[in-house]
Amino acid sequence: MGAMRRGRTSPYVELLREQMAFVLLFVLVVVASLLSNVFLTPNNVINILYSSATLGIVALGQTMLLISANFDLAVASTVSIAGIAALGAYLAGAPLPIAVLAGIATGVLIGLVNGGLVVRTRASPFLITLGMQVLIYALAQMVTGSQQLFTNDPTFTELGRGRLFGVLPWPVVIFLLLVVITEVVLRFTLFGRYLYALGQNEAAARLSGISTSTVKLLAFVLCGGLAGFAGVVLTSRLASTRAGGAAGWEFDSIIAAVLGGTSLFGGVGGTLRTVVGVLVLGILNNLLVLINLPYEAQQIVKGGVFLAVVFFDRLVRAR
């Protein structure tokens, strides 16, 4: 306990906390380039960005929710059912923009249900969104008859496979744009300020006149909408989709946000920081594959990283 209390005020721990993700990123890059000589090739770097971008979009929404001291465990199911909605609509003959909108609307709808239930009933977001995750997964299985949907129509896959100037894949461009937008929203809009206020002290936020219900609902809707959009991009990139296609993303998105320095306890963080967390996860994944670690061991490493990060978060933010 003593160490924790001292840690709260020590400028070194403070600095490490602020820059933890950058330190981790730097260490990982060094280790990775020592372990594998293809790691730092431009192709591999773009690959890492490319494969991280869709999870990154989800993590942005998750970050905003975490800042407001909420979280959404239904994002993985949201991603896959939004992809199913978009590709399903497209295969049924809807024009591309309508198909994309269908995916985003599915995510928004799920966010509305999540947020509505949490706000109206004051239930714990943990049980509600975990229940929704299972419910939506089962619905996705029912809608698709447990079959994979796929396409080889280049119009549909352009969004996920095309490249800006033939270099930067669209998902990466979209991700970076969304990072800028969400960071601006968090820093320079009332809504952004309210999210931090809500996360730091909900009662105080309500007493100072903020409509906490509306802000919370909006945060859930944004998270759902971004997850829906990520589902569309992912489906377009893979040219296929299925129920359960994004399994584990609910935890990966939270890990990415917390790695970047957003607190699990609300009130602290930002989406720009989440980019670093997303990159750390992306490199870790890339590295574990490059050095041929078996899948089981990869899971253990990720679980260990998760625990370490959470422990560190707890340590530096001991209340």
Binding site: T121, L127, L135, M142, Q299, R314
Partner: protein
């Protein structure tokens, strides 16, 4: 009659239990109500039921344990996998010790490291699942001791062995929670850690103990499952975390601690088990069943939170009004 109403209003889960029984008695009565089927259900819910006993105690103490399903699966794997090396005694001992050890780790993470219980046990869940994958190589393992399997499928009179163990454990937990100082301390710590500390309760010890109990019941469930299936697989217990919490909450246990009962939790998991069994008999496919169950859990959690938060508001308003 008023007495009956009192009991029912204290355990709203009884209404749901009655609704499930009535609904499937009408649609599939002859099969659903047969002795053989009810015996089956009692055996099916015994494993998750045992884990729910520990989960309920953990929740009452203000904690939560997401790792129960992983612990159960790992205990099953140890009980089966160590049979060639040291027979049934080694397998069972290792499984139970594993449960106690993971319970202790969870307790330390929550009490000493002060990590949010949901996050801490989520971490151990991921870690235990990883160890399970490594240990089994993702392949199912078959048991080699027929007597162990006979025990798991056996009956005492007409009561299946897992059911009997579940009922005994439930009775013990009911006694401990209602009649002992430890039980009262768990309720007090769950209601307010600060108040409990001021009242001289060693809150850390109490919380730690609830996680150890929870790990133990989960591993005991795993051992019984091993005996029943005479096999282990990595897929066991994948829903157990959510189901045990849902069962406890449906049975009136507060997710924020301080309120609830192990009997309520058992009734909750029984209601979920009867629902699953009835849906099987009606012939619903797996995913329709999953969706129904999830929707039901969301509804129960939402309604429960709504009612209790309104009650809290009304109490607060009463205080402000000077009553």
């Amino acid at each position: 009659v008023p007495r009956v109403w009192q009991v029912v209003s204290r355990q709203p889960i009884l209404i749901m239990l009655a609704a499930v029984v009535v609904a499937f008695s009408i649609t599939r009565g002859s099969v659903f109500l047969s002795g053989g089927n009810l015996t089956n259900v009692s055996r099916q819910v015994a494993f998750d039921g045992l884990a729910t006993v520990g989960q309920t105690i953990c929740l009452i103490g203000g904690g939560m344990d997401i790792s129960v399903g992983a612990v159960m699966a790992m205990a099953t794997a140890l009980a089966i996998g160590l049979q060639p090396a040291g027979g049934v005694p080694l397998g069972v001992a290792a499984a139970l010790i594993f449960g106690l050890a993971i319970g202790s780790v969870n307790g330390l993470l929550v009490v000493v490291a002060r990590i949010n219980p949901f996050i801490a046990t989520l971490g151990t869940m991921v870690a235990v699942r990883g160890v399970l994958l490594l240990y089994t190589g993702a392949r199912p393992i078959a048991g080699t001791v027929p007597a162990f399997a006979q025990f798991g499928s056996g009956v005492i009179g007409f009561v299946p062995v897992p059911t009997a163990v579940f009922v005994v454990a439930l009775g013990l937990a009911w006694m401990v929670m209602g009649r002992t100082r430890f039980g009262r301390n768990v309720y007090t710590v769950g209601a307010s850690v600060e108040a409990a500390r001021l009242a001289g309760i060693r809150t850390g010890h109490v919380q730690f103990a609830t996680y150890v109990i929870c790990g133990f019941t989960a591993s005991l469930a795993g051992v019984l499952l091993a005996a029943r299936l005479n096999a282990a697989s990595i897929h066991l217990g994948s829903d157990t975390g959510l189901l045990t919490i849902a069962g406890a909450v449906m049975g009136g246990t507060s997710i924020f601690g301080g309120r609830g009962s192990v009997v309520g939790g058992a009734l909750g998991i029984l209601a979920l088990g009867l629902l699953g069994n009835g849906m099987d008999l009606v012939g619903l496919d797996t995913y329709t069943q999953t969706a129904t169950r999830a929707a039901l859990i969301i509804a129960v959690v939402a309604i429960g939170s709504f009612v209790s938060s309104r009650a809290a508001r009304e109490r607060l308003q009463a205080v402000w009004a000077g009553r």
